[in-house]
Amino acid sequence: MLKSVTIGQYIYRDSLIHRLDARIKILATLIVMIGLFMVDRFIGFGLVAVFVGTLISLAKLPYKRVLRGLKPIIFIAIFTFILHLFFTPGGELLFKIGFLTVYEDGLVTGLFMVVRILLLILFTSLLTLTTSPIELTDAIEYLLKPFQKVGVPAHELAMMMTIALRFIPTLMEEADKIMKAQQARGADFESGSLLRKAKSLIPLLIPLFISAFRRADDLALAMEARCYRGGENRTRMNQLKYRVHDFIAFGLIIIFTVTLIIL
């Protein structure tokens, strides 16, 4: 049952987008996000939608999978829509039911906001869909480096993220094992009231935490035994290097965003 949980949403493909430097992808995502917030007409959204569509096919991703990523935020989108719909006065009065009134401006802003949220999520999900978690942490470490002078522990943060990612599958497996062992002792994780269900998790969580701490201890010891020391002068296995197509892609993104804002 725990096996169905997938970590991250990275889909491996051999494509131009996948090969782009992760740092460029993170920066580009940030820039386009800012652009999206500055768009004030529907035509801008149209442009972004076409752009996202092009990127998806360039990255050889299945449209369905990408769109499925929107599922979790549908509720938020609908909620936003309703809020704007009823509470934005202005324009023509469209209709009125009891104390609820809907104005033209409300409808327009509601739609506007929903489209903006959906595009925002869709676009940012492209980053995690085309970049492996390891590349991402490497890139984040690199991008955070300038802030090290003001005390941001860039390397340590990246190391923590890498280790956490590495151990998710291990802990999943462990949880599955402990769950089975407790079930063999008659534990019931499925039925009963919410309170009982929460209580029944104790026999699972305590052993899981203990083993997580034990693993952390072992790992720390193993790293120390091999003289691990982060920070200065530490080289890495995969060096990040900008190549020509990274600069071209970055240039295109800037041009695109500027057009978006001017529109």
């Binding site: 462990e174 402990i178 089975k180 062992a181 063999a184 008659g186 534990a187 104790i202 026999p203 083993s211």
Partner: protein, 285 residues
């Protein structure tokens, strides 16, 4: 018969490294002591998990005391009280504040009365040779590895299952701990008529204890016979990466060099006697 498997197959959706089961037919009778051996990934663990309903096989039927547990809507909890399963490294599943509470977890889930639970805990601790008064209030996390293992095994024993399945229970124990554990299994089998299924990597261990041996390879049940007969298949066993007991190996080597010696002996004692009687009255070297 107690347990019966009919054409049981199991496939994992993700086709992972965990082994599948392929068309297993098997019956287990009351009070048998069965050894289950196989290479890592041969399907042993999957097989024992299907036996108490933790894994529902994709095909085939499993009967326990003539009840089909693979049928839809069958309450698997009733199986858990009949079949006890001790996983590999069972000490990793301890979670309660005291040894007593942890061992009582199983019986409590069975819905027994407070008195019955105390009796069961007391009995289970006696069986694993832990002093009830000394250990019951201790935290399981402050015990040594071997003691933790005992508590975990007692936790399953306290459910008084008819069948006890153990997955590599002696892994990582010192020789004394291992010996104690094996003695316990013999006692449960002889005195309490428990059916035991012992999964092990150590051929000596199963050769000595089990009266029936199951050998698995790549999801198939390839051999099912008495240890004596099973270990006659030296070539097959070595092909699938399993050995034979060292003393039996010795007899085979002697035979290979042209001497007419018995090879169907498994324990040190038997082999010693065979070699002594073989060499008697013979000029050697």
């Amino acid at each position: 018969m107690l347990i019966k498997l009919e054409n049981v197959s199991h496939l994992y959706e993700d086709q992972s490294t965990v082994a599948a089961l392929k068309d297993i037919n098997l019956t287990v009778n009351q009070n048998e002591f069965i050894g289950l051996v196989g290479h890592t990934g041969s399907g042993k663990s999957t097989l024992i998990q299907t036996l108490n309903g933790l894994i529902r096989p994709t095909r085939g039927k499993i009967f326990i005391e003539n009840e089909e547990i693979t049928s839809k809507g069958f309450d698997l909890k009733t199986i858990r009280r009949k079949i006890g399963l001790v996983f590999q490294y069972p000490e990793h599943q301890l979670f309660e504040e005291t040894v007593e509470k942890d061992i009582a977890f199983g019986p409590r889930n069975l819905g027994l009365s407070a008195n019955q639970i105390i009796d069961r805990v007391h009995w289970a601790m006696d069986m694993v040779q832990m002093d009830y008064d000394e250990f019951r209030q201790r935290s399981p996390f402050q015990l040594s590895g071997g003691q933790k293992r005992k508590v975990a095994i007692a936790g399953v024993l306290a459910m008084r299952p008819q069948v006890l399945i153990l997955d590599e229970p002696s892994a990582g124990l010192d020789p004394m701990g291992r010996n104690q554990l094996l003695q316990l299994l013999i006692r449960l089998n002889k005195e309490y008529q428990m059916t035991i299924i012992l999964v092990s990597h150590r051929m000596e261990e199963v050769a000595e204890l089990a009266d029936r041996l199951l050998v698995m390879n790549e999801g198939y049940l390839v051999l099912d016979d008495s240890p004596r007969e099973v270990f006659q298949n030296v070539n097959l066993l070595e092909e699938i990466g399993l050995g034979i007991p060292q003393v039996t190996r010795l007899l085979w080597e002697i035979k290979k060099r042209g001497y007419n010696i018995r090879t169907d002996l498994l324990t040190l004692k038997e082999v010693k006697e065979e070699i002594i009687s073989f060499t008697r009255g013979r000029e050697l070297c």
